[in-house]
């Protein structure tokens, strides 16, 4: 069973079309991984599906880095 961190990083890599090694914990989706605003919305959709949760828009807007995504999922599991 993969850890939450591994699963999040895998989804980020898939959704943003980047290599998994580029997806470091500190990476920002927009600044480091080249995501545009639609990409970030789709990324949140993919995280919702993977972790079978609903992320409210006001929370989703705050999830801007890999670390913040992992922290959100861990706190809401």
């Amino acid at each position: 069973m993969s850890t939450i961190e591994e699963r999040v990083k895998k989804i980020v890599a898939e959704q943003l079309g980047v290599k998994e090694e580029e997806v470091t914990s500190d990476a920002s989706f927009v600044e480091d991984l080249g995501a545009d605003s639609l990409d970030t919305v789709e990324l949140v959709m993919a995280l919702e599906e993977e972790f079978e949760t609903e992320i409210p828009d006001e929370e989703a807007e705050k999830i801007t880095t890999v670390k913040l995504a992992i922290a959100y999922i861990e706190a809401n599991q």
Partner: protein, 247 residues
């Protein structure tokens, strides 16, 4: 390539232009969910689709209600799958000269004709972005470009639809979703049948083709925009009005 098997939502599909659009999409092999404001209307749509051998059904939807939009989209998703062809056709008129216009005449026309499009489109975009394919076709009116005395509310809403379509077209183009408007002129439907003959004759005099349009002539253009053949058209408003207004 064809759009066979895709799922379409057509609002205001009981009669007139919406009915013709539902049947045209059905002819192209699309599963069609048509919406009406009443249970009787939804039954009529189900019967019309069945008669034409089109898969799909009628459902009750109040486009002015966010809850109703959410419920219908969930139901469509569960029964048929994600909507990837959305035709926003439902519309009303509450004509009055501005100096006599009531707030509710203004609000209801803006809410039903314009805000509804925001609601329904937003609800469908998730499925379209996931599919990396989508068509949003908004039914506007020649009145958006020409204006018409007594229809400041309707003209504002319809012009709003066209601006909305251009902005959204830019937002979602990278996901292979096109957003367009079709602007009918005077079409022979219940919305225009109430006009006095004298008024109709005056209207015809302004139309180079000298007749009212048929709902099927609007549906054909919507059908083109929905098809794969229409895939390179986005952010556009196509005028279908017998020449009464030429962009």
């Amino acid at each position: 390539m064809s759009i066979e098997g895709k799922v379409a939502l057509v609002t205001g599909a009981t009669r007139g232009i919406g009915k013709a659009i539902a049947l045209e999409l059905g002819r192209q092999g699309v599963v069609v969910v048509g919406t009406a404001t009443s249970a009787g209307g939804a039954e009529t749509i189900t019967a019309n689709l069945a008669e034409a051998g089109v898969p799909g059904k009628g459902m009750v939807l109040d486009v002015a209600s966010a809850e109703s939009v959410e419920a219908v989209l969930e139901q469509v998703q569960a029964e048929f799958g994600a909507v990837t062809i959305l035709v926003n056709n439902a519309g009303i008129t509450r004509d009055n000269i501005l100096m006599r216009m009531k707030d509710d005449e203004w609000d209801s026309v803006l809410n039903t004709n314009l805000t509804s499009i925001y609601r329904v489109a937003k609800g469908c975009l998730r499925g379209m972005t996931k599919a990396r394919w989508g068509r949003i076709i908004n039914v506007s009116s020649v009145v958006a470009s020409m204006g018409n005395a007594g229809q400041s509310n309707y003209a504002a809403a319809k012009a709003g639809i066209e601006g909305f379509s251009r902005a959204l077209a830019r937002e979602v183009a990278s996901r292979n979703i096109t957003v367009n408007s079709v602007a009918p002129g005077f079409i022979d439907t219940d919305m225009t049948s109430g006009l006095a003959d004298e008024h109709k004759d005056k209207l015809k005099a302004q139309i180079p083709l000298n007749r009212l349009g048929k709902p099927e002539e609007i549906a054909a253009v919507v059908g083109f925009l929905a098809s794969e053949a229409g895939g390179y058209v986005t952010g556009e408003t196509i005028q279908v009005n017998g020449g009464m207004y030429m962009g």
